[in-house]
């Protein structure tokens, strides 16, 4: 909705300083950028990834001794939600060849390829089939499909963008399979943006040497998800979909092979035992942990479940400390909260301003530095603007773009954003936007090899849950591609693997063992996880929930 009268009053302060700032911009004068030393200071003090405050070493498990954000660390050191002595594995509720955990793009691709390979599949998903980060990805999907491009350059761009921290075999797989993924989607009837002769429309993106970003309107992820979901629904003889059934724990057999999982029916609160010869983790990322309270762009179920379950069976992870924050996520209106405002807005000259309409930073610092400066201004200096729902923001003065470059520039250069705000009664060519850093993507995740295999036989991982392919920094369009590439690989590989598998007695011993480790490490009152869904109850409401016993008794 449009700005409230109180907010409009504050905007007058922005308007008051605008003429001077526009004059400054026209003279090519800028608020001074930070020196490298100052950058380091502000990052260490205020950037959630750099701050020492709020980080710690984990004391147990495969990543023992590694440093994580508090919110991540406490989930790695968490206890099971299942009372082990009450769980009965002897009579499975479901038996299948391949169990896919997660119903987003990676999980669905895996289910399709596993069924192609002849396997019977159960796909268990926390929310509805398709509720995922895949469906939210707007920009596009990378693949070296053009003549001037090749997997070689896809590799180079990706590993360079990741500051050479990426796991090489995964990047190689990604670059190799990317065109195959696109061809697969095309064959499934995905509506790509194409020229009249069928040539794919491709675009550049930050860090690309070739135009490699394929898209479907401005809802590429949604189109991918719709298509693969529809195809899975066509195969109900091979793929059984269990919605609102997140996994709570993995099951191993006595030999240590993955042997299924325990699902939790969110509606009836029953646990189901699924016996499966192979399990594919495709549970997505951790945006909904709201590290340090940040808003996020993720879907409702992004709570790191897969990493937690994998950790307890001995599968470690990498780069989980690296989170992609975007400095300018929308904080008003509420419908747009978390929406990313492209760097282009600042590139076109828009200043970032505090509540008094004053500049406090160079608007085009690197992404992480910019984020840190915004946080500092709001939290340390107390000069943020608070929305009617208690969100903190800073002004991004988009109207000055028209004043610098001529009327109509905002509308022409930022058409989608213009419409998104106009729909809610805000004209961003006349009124500034209110922004704050936003949590976008989990760069790291569980360890796999190029066939999406973990160190546990029969356990695979694909999509945002796995780590290494992006290193510490992900390029646009590689996440949608890794979902398809590794989802497909996991499904195909699992279908092959199950042919020679003989499952022994199922067990949850690994859970008991892990919980003993927690006790031995002196971890008291560990969190219970997977947490499955975030809790957005207000403090006031929580304080009034006086019962510990559900209505109707235990």
């Amino acid at each position: 909705m449009a700005y409230t009268p109180e907010m409009k009053e504050l905007i007058k302060k922005v308007e008051a300083t605008r003429p001077d700032r526009v004059a400054m911009a026209k003279n090519n004068e800028h608020y001074p950028a930070l020196t490298l030393k100052e950058r380091e200071e502000v990052l260490n003090k205020y950037h959630p990834d750099y701050q020492e405050d709020g980080k710690r070493k984990v004391k147990v498990g495969p990543n023992k001794g590694d440093v994580f954000q508090e919110e991540v660390a406490e989930l790695l050191e968490s206890q099971s939600i299942i009372k082990e002595d009450e769980a009965d594995l002897s009579e499975p509720d479901y038996e299948t060849d391949v169990l896919v955990i997660g119903g987003g793009g990676a999980g669905t691709s895996a289910a399709l390829l596993a069924s192609d390979g002849g396997a019977d599949v159960i796909m268990a998903t926390k929310l509805r089939h398709g509720d995922s980060n895949t469906i939210m990805a707007e920009g596009g999907i990378q693949a070296a499909s053009q003549e001037c491009d090749s997997p070689f350059y896809h590799y180079i761009d990706t590993i360079g963008g990741g500051h050479f921290t990426n796991q090489p075999d995964l990047v190689s797989t990604l670059a190799h399979d990317a065109p195959l993924s696109i061809a697969w989607l095309e064959r499934l009837g995905m509506m790509f943006n194409k020229l009249e002769d069928g040539r794919m429309v491709v675009r550049h993106f930050g860090g690309s040497s070739r135009k490699r970003l394929h898209s479907a309107g401005d809802m590429t992820g949604a189109e991918i998800m719709r298509v693969v979901r529809d195809e899975a629904r066509n195969r109900s003889d091979k793929i059984t979909i269990l919605e609102f059934c997140p996994a709570a724990e993995l099951i191993l057999d006595e030999d240590g092979k993955c042997a299924g999982a325990i699902l939790y029916n969110l509606e009836t609160q029953e646990f189901y035992v699924v016996k499966a010869k192979a399990v594919i983790l495709a549970t997505g990322g951790f945006g909904r942990l709201h590290i340090k309270g940040f808003a996020c762009t993720n879907h409702y179920g992004a709570t790191m479940d897969g990493v937690v379950m994998a950790y307890r069976v001995g599968v470690g992870n990498k780069y989980l400390y690296s989170t992609q924050y975007h400095p300018t996520g929308v904080v008003y209106p509420e419908q747009n909260v978390g929406l990313l405002i492209t760097e282009k807005v600042r590139g076109l000259g828009a200043h970032v301003l505090n509540i008094d309409g004053e500049q406090f930073c160079f608007p085009l610092e690197p992404r992480d530095v910019e984020s840190a400066e915004l946080i500092c201004e709001a939290m340390e200096k107390g000069k943020g603007v608070m929305t009617p729902t208690g969100r903190m923001g800073l002004w991004l003065d988009s109207p000055m773009i028209d004043e610098i470059h001529g009327e109509g520039t905002v509308k022409k250069e930022l058409p989608a954003k213009f419409i998104q705000f106009a729909r809610h009664g805000i004209d961003i060519s006349k009124e500034p936007m209110l922004v704050y850093p936003t949590l976008h993507y989990q760069n790291g995740g569980v360890n796999i090899n190029s066939d999406a295999e973990t160190v546990v036989p029969g356990l695979y991982a694909a999509g945002e849950v796995m780590g290494g392919v992006h290193g510490e920094n992900r390029l646009m369009g590689n996440s949608l591609q890794d979902i398809i590439t590794f989802g497909r690989r996991a499904g195909a590989k699992a279908a092959e693997y199950i042919k020679g598998v003989d499952l022994k007695k199922p067990t949850l011993d690994h859970v008991a063992k892990f919980e003993k480790e927690l006790t031995d490490a002196g971890i008291e009152n560990p969190k219970t996880a997977p947490i499955i869904l975030p809790d957005y109850s207000t403090d006031e409401v929580s304080a009034k929930r006086w019962t510990k016993v559900p209505i109707g008794g235990e």
């Binding site: 909705m1 409230t4 929310l127 398709g130 509720d131 995922s132 469906i135 939210m136 499909s145 053009q146 003549e147 001037c148 491009d149 090749s150 997997p151 070689f152 180079i156 990047v171 190689s172 670059a175 190799h176 065109p179 095309e186 064959r187 499934l188 009837g189 509506m191 194409k194 069928g198 794919m200 550049h204 040497s209 070739r210 135009k211 309107g217 809802m219 719709r226 298509v227 529809d230 629904r233 609102f244 709201h290 309270g293 996020c296 879907h299 409702y300 008003y332 209106p333 509420e334 419908q335 909260v337 978390g338 340390e380 943020g384 608070m386 009617p388 208690g390 869904l533 957005y536 109850s537």
Partner: protein, 262 residues
Amino acid sequence: MSETEKTQAPKMATGDRAILPEGARTIPVYIMGKRYEVPETLTIMKAMEYSGFKFVRGAGCRGGICGACPTVYRKAGDYKIYFGLACQTVVEPDMFLAQIPFYPANRTAYDLEEIGGEADAVHALYPEVFRCVACNNCTKACPMDVDVLAYISAVKQGDMAKAAEISFDCIQCGMCASRCMGEMPQFHIGQLVRRIYGRYIQPQAEHLKKRVEEINSGKYDKMLEDLTSMSKEKLTKLYTEREREPDLAPSGEWMPEDTQYL
């Protein structure tokens, strides 16, 4: 964060949890008939959470694209029925609202490779399209402003391309089907049509076909293998020296000087 160590920091909303700051206003809304006071400017979804509701169904991406949170509402004194996504619609005073997280709809399974690209296939799978009476309730119910009647009309007219394009923004929330006098599942029909369009009507990408053949013939295997074992120095050099395709180069026309890795 504890209150003591961050005294300067104001209490603010965290994650998606809203708070009511000093001096902010609340408005009354009726959630399934029961009155709650919620901060103005909140979305329906966050207003329900603010009121103490915890979603299992009825919340998905929270960003207006997954179709999990369709909501119907009425306004006091107004006979009209309104539709919106709970995550994209802001509360108004005296709004009476309820969510419809699931609506059953007939779906017919099919094999895309078998059915071919003709509209006859759609008519055979969903003969109920001919039950449309053009009442337009579907279009009125669409929270994405898709002209549902127009794409169903296009399906009847056998115009797959038109139906695919008009239905493209569909998020499959099912509200059209919930209001349909002809009892048809518009959103499934739209999905079928779009896949037929993508598979049979849009021309396929020849350059992609060629690239797939190259990859399957093993053309890039050695190159990629070399890259995976390459030193950081060498990779850095390749990275910094790589040529950039000009922004305005028409697709498929520009070629780099160095073509040995293509």
